[in-house]
Assembly symmetry: C2
Homo-oligomer: 239 residues x 2
């Protein structure tokens, strides 16, 4: 099974093509603080081109569903919805913090993912590997870095661009229990999104292309300023 | 400090640009079983182009020195030597198995890297993370997968394309002590090579551009068939 995977949930943007019998065929990641709409489709074309595959050779798509940046998630998810609908292939959403934590298999301690949520807050989740399997210990939250770590009293590995930004603050609060991921392992890689998506798609578990929505955790500024939308449209994708 | 890093030691090919204050700016990896000379320079141009940097903005170069494929290593190292000599910037060689093992920070067990060496052998090295630091436990060897694992009597995480190829055999020999890296984490990523190279270059530790040589571990077929070279030329690069 060949999967094309995309992540645009945070500042970084990553695209990969992977094969379930082989692993990564091609992967490209950038973290250059530009809007993802500027380069995402070009990255899809480049990555696919390097594998010598066409979009019709892809058996399914995976995309991170957040929590993360409003605009970032919309760009990635819209693009992958288009690719899935256009090619008639299934789509599997993958949790962004799951993909970040999955980079640390067999880590011997608590894992806390922290992605910058602006407004002095972070998207924060907690995990642990048990017998090689990633277990979520706490649901995704958006809160201040201080609150995110206040109850941690054991060694904990922090990963994500939020952990980099608030590294000093975290170390001040939890002291020697704080461990930090290597500098180059704080962003989501689409190769890992592909593997997690593949695990769902191989079991026949996919998301409805039309109904699939990003996970934002908090309301957008527009919703906060102008209240909820008056009309809910049933936009189920015609079979 | 901005580093451009390259890995071509095995079947995969990876290029990254990273910043010591930020992490990965751009990274591209392919594993498509084509000779690296076909796409390496194009990947360098693409990755550099995505960051908006020029080669003159790069402060240093990192490249994997093996052990690994003869042709692969020559292509990557020749290219990076050219870039370093042409731009007058330093070069730091990085051990290929170090870069593979560094992907598993805080792993709670022995780590055994295994890269396919053809001829039913693997390049094999052993590591352990101690207080978050990667410690090499055994020097690089090239041997059969059976011999490589024969003395392992504790939980061990296997990573690398050799571990994928010989997964069944390894599991048969060491049973439940065998753990395997996720499918998408069996290749060297240039982002990690950049980080390890950066650690050397920031301390002013670099390799002589002319004298730097790949680590092959075994002799090439040409050397085995035709004996050692008669003449050693001192090819020190002019200052």
């Amino acid at each position: 099974m060949k999967i094309l995977a995309v992540d645009t949930a945070a500042d970084s943007c990553s695209v990969a093509v992977a094969d379930s019998g082989y692993g990564i065929l091609a992967e490209m990641t950038v973290d250059i603080r530009q809007t993802h709409s500027k380069h995402l489709m070009q990255m899809v074309v480049t990555v696919l081109g390097m594998t010598g595959l066409r979009i019709s050779d892809i058996d399914g798509f995976a995309v991170t569903r957040g929590p993360g940046s409003f605009t970032g998630l919309r760009i990635g998810i819209s693009t992958v919805k288009g690719l899935a609908a256009g090619s008639g292939k299934p789509l599997a959403g993958v949790s962004s913090p799951d993909a970040l934590a999955f980079q640390f298999p067999f880590a011997d301690c608590l894992i806390c993912t922290m992605t910058d949520a602006r407004k002095k807050e972070v998207y924060c989740s907690r995990y642990r590997f048990e017998n090689g399997r990633l277990k979520k210990e706490k649901e995704d939250q958006v809160l201040s870095p201080d609150k995110a770590v206040a109850d941690i009293s054991e060694p904990c590995l922090f990963a994500g661009n939020g952990a980099l930004i608030y590294q000093k603050q975290i170390a001040e609060i939890i002291g020697r229990n704080a461990r930090f991921a290597p500098l180059c392992m704080n962003i989501v890689r689409a190769g890992i999104v592909a593997q997690l998506g593949m695990q769902r798609l191989e079991k026949g578990d996919s998301d409805d292309v039309a109904l699939f929505r990003p996970c934002y955790l908090r309301k957008s500024d527009a919703e906060l300023n102008f209240g909820p939308k008056a009309v809910i449209i049933d936009n189920r994708f015609p079979a």
